[in-house]
């Protein structure tokens, strides 16, 4: 997409221009955007069809499954809202991914950063934030959650900048550290576990106070679960898009990602930029975790992150570096998740089947992206 804009200029190069030897590889012969939209849409449709065949093969009546799926995605105002809330969380993680990826860093630790964000946001909400005025009751936990995720990502950044540790490995290992930390915190009474009572003995935190919960967007409408997370996400999309497309920070990140030595020679502090990129990336994932707790779940459980960090990573990958792509991917996955949960509950389609269908869609979209790329190059 980045290259298509100067295609017309290349065509104007004079004959025998000494540049041509290298230019040829980049010449695009036909406009690519119809393909870029059309092929992924067709691919998704094909994946859905295959999914339906698999579902039919399990013996579930197809119309039941489809009805349940549709109902879960968009059957009611509440379901639409829930799907969008899911998309918000996925979107933050996806934005974080593309931010670090601009510096050619692959943050696969969204799950762990999200878990840390949720855990610290819960702690803040339970201990100290509730009494604060001016909305600080929920803002402070959001900020603390973001900071926690940022630190968790930043550790990988520092390791990369100072010691050259591969960030794929470090973020993954940090995730395997973060998830047990959450488990520990909800298992231990001296940490976040709620006191035993006759009603409940589950290892989870107490519910956070009303004041620390994210305000609903439409408080009068009892059926809409949309909360402050949505406008925050829209803001984050705009800010990340502007910084990456037009900001000097975005260009510096690209330079560091493309050629670190040259960037350093040009006076760019590559080490700090790597740390910044990983911190921001982790911070956005941490914010997603905080929003999940403060907006919907209201108490911390062992597995509250439930794969959002990994799904967000896929959203970031599919978006191919564009913030707008993250929006599309997050919405797709948010609605898919809602639909499939409902399909599992009401139509009794095994959850494994649903996961297989999701995987198919990812493969088809990624495959179609490669296909479009090849078509463009031909």
């Amino acid at each position: 997409m980045y290259q298509s804009q100067y295609m017309s200029k290349l065509d104007a190069l004079p004959l025998g221009s000494e540049e041509f030897g290298l230019v040829v590889k980049r010449v695009r012969v036909f406009p690519r955007w119809p393909l870029q939209i059309g092929v992924p849409v067709a691919a998704t449709a094909v994946a859905t069809l295959i999914g339906l065949v698999i579902i039919a093969s399990t013996g579930t009546p197809l119309e039941d499954a489809v009805a349940a799926f549709w109902d879960g995605m968009a059957g009611s105002t509440f379901n639409v809202g829930a799907s969008i809330n899911r998309a918000v969380s996925l979107g933050f993680v996806g934005l974080g991914f593309i931010f670090a990826n601009r510096a050619n860093l692959t943050n696969v630790g969204g799950e762990g950063q999200l878990a840390m964000g949720g855990m610290f946001a819960t702690a803040m909400a339970l201990h100290g934030a509730a009494a604060l005025p001016f909305g600080l009751a929920f803002l402070l936990p959001l900020i603390v959650g973001t900071a926690a995720g940022g630190v968790w990502g930043g550790i990988a950044g520092v390791l990369k900048a100072r010691r050259g540790t591969n960030e794929v490995i470090s973020t993954l290992l940090l995730t395997f550290t973060a998830l047990p930390l959450v488990y520990w915190s909800v298992q231990s009474f001296y940490l976040l576990r709620k006191p035993l009572s006759p009603l409940s003995s589950l290892p989870e935190s107490p519910e956070i106070p009303e004041a620390t919960r994210l305000p609903l967007l439409f408080p009068s409408d009892q059926t809409s679960p949309l909360h402050l997370g949505l406008p925050l996400a829209i803001l984050a999309v705009i800010v990340v898009a502007v910084v990456l497309q037009r900001g000097s920070l975005g260009l510096k990140l690209r330079a560091v990602g493309l050629n670190q030595v040259a960037a350093r020679r040009a006076g760019i502090q590559s080490g700090s930029l790597i740390i910044i990129a990983m911190t921001v990336s982790g911070g956005l994932a941490g914010l997603a975790g905080a929003i999940m707790i403060l907006g919907e779940q209201f108490y911390l459980t062992n597995d509250f992150s439930s794969g959002y960090g990994f799904d967000g990573l896929v959203v970031g990958l599919l978006s191919r570096g564009s913030a707008f792509g993250v929006v599309l991917g997050a919405l797709l996955f948010g609605f898919l998740r809602s639909g499939s949960i409902n399909m599992e509950i009401t139509a009794h389609v095994p959850s494994a089947i649903v996961l297989i269908c999701q995987g198919l869609i990812v493969i088809m979209i990624a495959g179609s992206a490669i296909f479009v790329e090849r078509m463009g190059r031909r």
């Binding site: 004959l15 221009s17 290298l22 010449v27 000097s248 493309l258």
Partner: protein
């Protein structure tokens, strides 16, 4: 007898006519040279023969049979092999392992491969240890491995794309003698180059290409070198100076005396205030030991004054790279000091070194100087983004204008500053690097390492023009080059690095060529001609 016959070959890339109705023949047992500037269509022609591209029209015949290779593998099967400018060896593997790649059978027959290597060695005189690791080998050795790899398939025709661009003089000589021996065994060799001198020694015939068209094919016996250069460049080169002649190699090959006397000894126009000979760069007892304890640089002391170009001569691998890395702040010396304009920058970061007034044109442009996916404007202004942004948002228009200004000043030829750096030819990329480094603030010193490697004649001229202009404006310049003729023609004085030590210093006078050459190979300095 004709081996390869190319008739009316045409290839377009989009609207660009890369090759226009080119016809030529390669005889059996012939060294055929393809001469032309960057972008003349030499590589395109080779890639058509080697099956990388398909021609739009025209035909190729091998021993009278039509040949239309669908892929390099297909071309190989038909008896055509090619060594590209960029090698395709796995650096961490040994020679023998690299040779095994691509011909892997379930069981690797190492002893058989080694005996085949030995046979080739006897026949052609490759001196390559099958068990040495590729990344520890010199460029010349790697190239010989590539050639061995080609010869394993017993090709009839061997195509070498710019084989001498990266070689030391003695390696070039070895390569050319291998070429000759290949033709003695009935194989044909196509040599692609824009350096004439070395070709004159080995080629039977030369075909000159310019802007995708065939200019002429000449027999090399008794050919007029200057006429060849004229048809390659498209204008008379008598206007060009001795540097140019040295670059293409016609100066010393044809008439060394003229080259020496014709050198325009331009008086250094010293700008007021700089002519006092203050040091731009001072190296004091610089020593760098590698991890294995071997000294890469040994007690190097050198002063580069303002308004002076100091050349560093030496066979590659004698400490030039390490010197360049230290000056760029990419390596810290084991002991000694580096002073720029009197300030100690021995342990400074690259950023601090840039800020202290050091411009660097590095040897490996792609690895160190540019991000080729970024646009020309972005590359030119990468160090000064803060000047073009407000609240963190870049002013693209101002960047474009500033970049266009620099491009005009340094004659970087490119349709738009928004094009990616990779779309520029090597020469224009190098000019862009010079433009960026020479437009730094408070510049006192410029390091240029192999600044003309792989560039065509016009670009070489421009690069040296800029370097001289920088000197005349009061900069100290350190020029590292493996091309002795260039060093002598451009430098005010030349120091010689041998095994990490400075073994001698001489004025940049053509009369000292032999003496400098001797010092490069470790001999005791001869009497100095001033």
């Amino acid at each position: 007898m004709t081996l390869l016959e190319i008739s009316g070959l045409t290839k377009r890339f989009g609207s660009l006519l890369a090759l226009d109705n080119v016809s030529l023949t390669v005889a059996e047992g012939e060294v055929h040279c393809l001469l032309g500037e960057n972008g003349a269509g030499k590589s395109t022609l080779c890639n058509l023969v080697y099956g990388v591209y398909r021609p739009d029209s025209g035909s190729i015949a091998l021993r009278g049979r039509p040949l239309s290779p669908k892929s390099p593998a297909d071309a190989l099967r038909q008896g055509i092999a090619m060594v590209h400018q960029h090698f395709s060896l796995v650096p961490t593997m040994t020679v023998i392992e690299n040779l095994m790649l691509g011909r892997a059978r379930p069981i690797l027959e190492y002893s058989e491969m080694i005996s085949r290597m030995e046979a080739l060695d006897r026949e052609y005189g490759f001196v390559v240890d099958p068990h040495s690791v590729v990344e520890e080998m010199s460029v010349g050795e790697r190239q010989r491995v590539e050639i061995i790899k080609c010869l394993l398939g017993d090709p009839k025709l061997l195509v070498l794309d710019e084989p001498t661009a990266v070689l030391k003089p003695e390696e070039t000589a070895a390569l050319l003698s291998i070429c000759r021996r290949l033709t003695e065994t009935g194989k044909s060799v196509v040599l692609v180059t824009h350096k004439l001198a070395e070709i004159a020694k080995v080629a039977d015939r030369t075909t000159v290409l310019r802007h995708g068209r065939l200019v002429e094919t000449v027999e090399m016996a008794g050919a007029d070198m200057r006429a060849l250069v004229r048809s390659m460049v498209g204008r008379d080169v008598s206007s060009a100076d001795a540097v140019l002649a040295a670059t293409i190699g016609i100066g010393d090959a044809a008439e060394p005396e003229t080259a020496a006397t014709a050198r325009p000894k331009t008086p250094v126009q010293k700008t007021a205030g700089f002519g006092d000979g203050t040091a731009a760069l001072e190296l004091v007892q610089l020593t760098l030991r590698g991890r294995d304890g071997v000294s890469k640089l040994d007690d190097v002391s050198l002063t580069v004054r303002r308004c002076e170009i100091v050349g560093v001569a030496g066979v590659e691998g004698n400490g030039q790279n390490e010197l360049g890395d230290i000056l760029a702040g990419l390596t810290t010396p084991s002991s000694g000091t580096v002073k720029v304009d009197g300030r100690d920058v021995t342990r400074a970061t690259p950023q601090e070194i840039t800020a202290s007034g050091v411009g660097i044109v590095p040897e490996d442009r792609h690895a160190v100087a540019i991000a080729s996916e970024l646009s020309v404007a972005e590359n030119l202004l990468l160090g000064r983004l803060d000047r073009f942004s407000r609240f963190g948002i870049l002013n693209r228009r101002a960047m474009r204008e500033a970049a266009a200004g620099l491009m005009r000043k340094f004659d970087v030829r490119c349709e738009s500053p928004d094009l990616p750096m990779s779309s520029l030819s090597g020469g224009n990329q190098q000019k862009a690097v010079l433009a960026r480094e020479l437009s730094l603030d408070h510049l006192t010193f410029l390091l240029a390492a192999q600044p003309t490697r792989g560039l065509d004649v016009g670009a070489v001229e421009a690069v040296y023009g800029h370097i001289r202009a920088a000197r005349d404006q009061g900069l100290g310049v350190l020029l590292i080059s493996s091309e002795l003729d260039e060093l002598i023609a451009v430098s005010d004085r030349v120091v010689v690095l041998y095994r990490g030590r400075i073994v001698g210093e001489m004025p940049g006078n053509p009369a000292n060529r032999e003496a400098i050459g001797a010092m490069m190979s470790g001999h005791v300095p001869e009497p100095v001609h001033v």
